[in-house]
Amino acid sequence: MLTFTIRRLVLAVPTLLFISLVIFMLLQLAPGDPMAQVPLTVPPEVKEKMREALGLGAPVHIQFFKWLVQFFWVEPQVLIDHIFGTTFAEGQLRVLSWQTRSPVMDIVVQRLPQTLWVVGMSYVLGVLIALPIGIYSAYRQYSAFDQIGTFVSMVGFSVPTFFTGVLLIVIFSVNLGWFPSIYDTTHKVTDWNSFVVQLQQMIMPVMVLALYNAAQISRFMRASMLDNLNQDYVRTARAKGLGEKTVVLVHVLRNSMIPVVTVIALGVPQVFGGAIITEQVFKVNGLGQLLITSIEANDLPMVQTLTFIFALLIVVFNLIADILYGILDPRIRYD
């Protein structure tokens, strides 16, 4: 198992380098101009100067190499400096955003809490809702509960969040006035009252996303349970006189969880990726909103860094899922 992990980790290095190159080339080839948002009143000569100041004139391979050095060499130093108070990175150029002219990683760190609170919470909540629904739906297959569960998850899966989000805003913010329609990212939880305010502003985005996540995972859970319920070992368990509760929740559930756990692990990188549409709808300015505004503004260093971080997370969580699989199912060991 250890050799497997190490082999995979070593293999991840060229994979990630290749991914970063692909992202970079794709962004280079994509049409668009960081000056497109500058008003037409700014003359073209001035725009050309601004492009030069952004380093756009440099040849492509140099731009890529600079990014590699800044991301893999300077940024870790900044992190070390931040933790231990050292000054390794002093005076070195970090990855700078074209829009804000400030270090990309600082903004990412600033955006993480919102995304983790809202998108992370919705993921946890989605899983908590999905598992019982999936289990019971499978156990009582084709019952009224199963039919309703299927219907709800189909709705959650197929109705886009920009529709459910706006619908919730119109009902709960405009008509009822219960919750704010605009998320306050500067709000700090210090006491009970501010915690209530935080709950109020989180509830709508979290519910919209939780519905979507729950829909997906509950279908997986149901399918996996159904596979196992018809197995011989279940009949054996029942035949030797075990109670239904033990059969379903201990024997079947444990075996059914193996694929579901990997699915859940593979979904975690999406949490960090943020929810582009939901974040826009509720103005939760997290990582998803950061990515979309950077794409609109053609802020290539920001887009490159964000997409690369997402790629990194996906590679890491794929590895985690594989290892979890081995731990949960002793039959599958990679040695």
Partner: protein, 566 residues
């Protein structure tokens, strides 16, 4: 105690009363929402409106434009003019005098050195300053004394109000930005995110592309202002959400630039929480006519260049027919409502420069048809006109935007009625307005027959804007397809008039020449077909007072006067 002293005391109390009401920070908190989030608070490093306007509350220029487009002094004692001797007789220099006793928000005095430094900062060759055009032609900025600064130009400048006027060219603190000149400008994140200014507010926290928290500047020059102690300036989302937050839910007090369908705004306003305000500036939605041949059959490098005149749009009758067949009133009604007025002018305002040209406002399909008949364009079997084997079939492009696509569909219909076949196309705004010379889809390259977009000019003087139509400014391969003369219109008579304008200092005369230039490219030649004079619609809550919408400067130009109506 005599009666006299009692009365005097009472009188004094009455006199003091208004002052006691208008106390700095007395009205608590105000919430502003911009659906485009500010990225940086240094307008010299970003040309974006969102960045200009948010920073305008913190850093100020010497003078601003008011809602009528008139100049008002802000940090300056008065606006220098020829009459008061501030502008030299040869129009080659302008001398500004600062108000005395001005303090930065950190408590240090504002001096002429800061003004000089602001110019140096923007004029640095490696800085990539977004407002460099404001400082064009400046040869020297000299400090005369602590409060006086003299700007000298290389040639006579009839409009010397480029530097230090308006939201684009504010004064920044020399001490704060001293190490941020040139290539170092982007490294000064702290200064770019939290500039020390003279404006009514100062930053407490700046989160790029998200939210700015501000508080009243303790050193603001008017001790009674601003009325609000703190402000949250939220960015992001979309115009609908911003309008909803002010007009429907009442969470926010002010929403900027609600580019929404007229009926959507009406519905929102019906909730009764706030009202919309509109004002007009110089922004005109127009159709540009390509005077060169964009045909794909021409080799790259010759396509859409002066080498090949357009096969049928070079006929003035065709251009005129295209213009008069458009029903501008209907376009306004459908696309802009309160935020638009039909126009035939490229320069719709200020009054001095606006021509009385209204001929195109009558929707005249019959007239257009007659014009084309007379010019020899005959309808074929398919209803499309042709002459000498050239069919009136054109490609009409614009940026992707719901209103523009509505306009395209309507205009296509009118043009088909006069026998002009129209193919529609829309391009993503980031590509269309991006100047990538490698892309065939930019508005500069203009690989289409006609295209629609909006443009305006900074400040109130249209000279540079009208000079965009100069022959030499046509985008072409030699200029890497950069250039402002999008139509490639080329007329020595026009160029001569622009040269005359740049030599004329007298305001009346300038107005006359500018109106002539405007008419030349619009009603005389129809090279530019103006459609809609686009205003700005913003919304504020019923309890927010003092809002005066201004399209000539930052919308937040008078934020110091905003207050809570109780």
């Amino acid at each position: 105690m005599t009666l006299k002293s009692t009365l005097l005391g009472a009188a004094a109390l009455v006199a003091l009363a208004p002052a006691a009401f208008a106390e700095r920070g007395a009205d608590g908190h105000v919430n502003v929402i911009y659906w485009q989030a500010p990225s940086i608070l240094n307008p010299y490093l970003s040309g974006g409106t969102k960045d200009l306007e948010s920073s305008s509350m913190i850093i100020e220029p010497l003078g601003r434009y008011d809602p009528e487009g008139k100049m008002v002094p802000f940090l300056a004692e008065e606006i220098p003019t020829l009459e008061n001797g501030g502008v030299s007789e040869d129009l080659k220099s302008i001398t500004w005098k600062l108000k005395s006793g001005l303090l930065w928000s950190d408590g240090t005095p504002v001096t002429a050195n800061d003004v000089k430094f602001s110019a140096e900062y923007c004029m640095h060759p490696e800085g990539g300053c977004a407002q460099a055009a404001k400082f064009e032609g400046v040869t020297a900025v000299e400090v005369i004394d602590d409060l006086t600064v003299k700007v000298t130009f290389s040639e006579p400048k009839p409009n010397p109000y480029g530097p230090f006027m308006g939201a684009q060219a504010p004064i920044i603190q020399a001490a704060q930005f001293a190490d941020c000149l040139g290539a170092k400008a982007p490294e000064c994140t702290e200064a770019n995110f939290n500039p020390i200014g003279t404006g009514p507010f100062r930053v407490t926290e700046f989160r790029p592309n998200d939210v700015i928290s501000l508080e009243a500047n303790p050193n603001y020059r008017d001790p009674a202002k601003p009325a609000f102690a703190t402000m949250t300036f939220k960015g992001g989302g979309d115009a609908t959400a911003a309008g909803r937050a002010v007009l429907e839910t009442g969470e926010f007090d002010y929403a900027w630039n609600l580019q929404l369908a007229p009926e959507v705004i009406e519905q929102m306003a019906a909730a009764g929480n706030g009202k919309t305000i509109a004002a007009f500036g110089s922004l005109v939605e127009r159709i540009m006519v390509n005077m060169t041949d964009p045909s794909a059959s021409l080799p790259e490098g010759e396509r859409a260049t002066a080498k090949h005149p357009h096969p049928f749009l070079s006929d003035p009758a065709v251009r005129k027919a295209l213009s008069i067949s458009i029903d501008r009133n209907l376009l306004v009604e459908i696309g802009y409502g309160q935020a638009g007025r039909p126009t035939c002018n490229l320069v719709p305002a200020p009054a001095l420069y606006a021509s009385d040209n209204t001929d195109c406002l009558t929707h005249d399909i019959a007239g257009a048809n007659k014009l084309l008949d007379d010019a020899g364009w005959v309808r074929g079997a398919d209803g499309i006109r042709a002459k000498d084997g050239v069919r009136l079939s054109l490609l009409f492009q614009t940026s992707t935007n719901a209103v523009r696509q509505d306009f395209q569909a309507l205009i296509k219909q009118w043009w088909e009625e006069i026998g002009v076949e129209t193919e529609l196309r829309n391009v993503s705004a980031s590509v269309f307005f991006g100047g990538d010379p490698g892309s065939p889809d930019t508005f500069q390259k203009f690989y289409a027959d006609v295209q629609m977009y909006a443009n305006n000019f900074d400040g109130t003087d249209p000279e540079a804007y009208l000079a965009a139509q100069l022959c030499s400014k046509a985008p072409r391969p030699e200029s890497q397809w950069q250039g402002e003369n999008i139509t490639r219109f080329c007329d020595p008579a026009y160029d001569a008039m622009v040269a005359e304008l740049s030599r004329t200092g007298e305001l009346e005369k300038r107005g006359e020449i500018a109106r002539k230039l405007n008419d030349y490219v619009t009603k005389d030649t129809n090279v530019i077909i103006p459609l809609v004079d686009r205003g700005r619609v913003s919304a504020h809550s019923n309890t927010l007072g003092g809002v005066v919408l201004n399209t000539w400067d930052s919308e937040l130009w008078n934020v110091a006067d905003w207050h809570r109506i109780k």
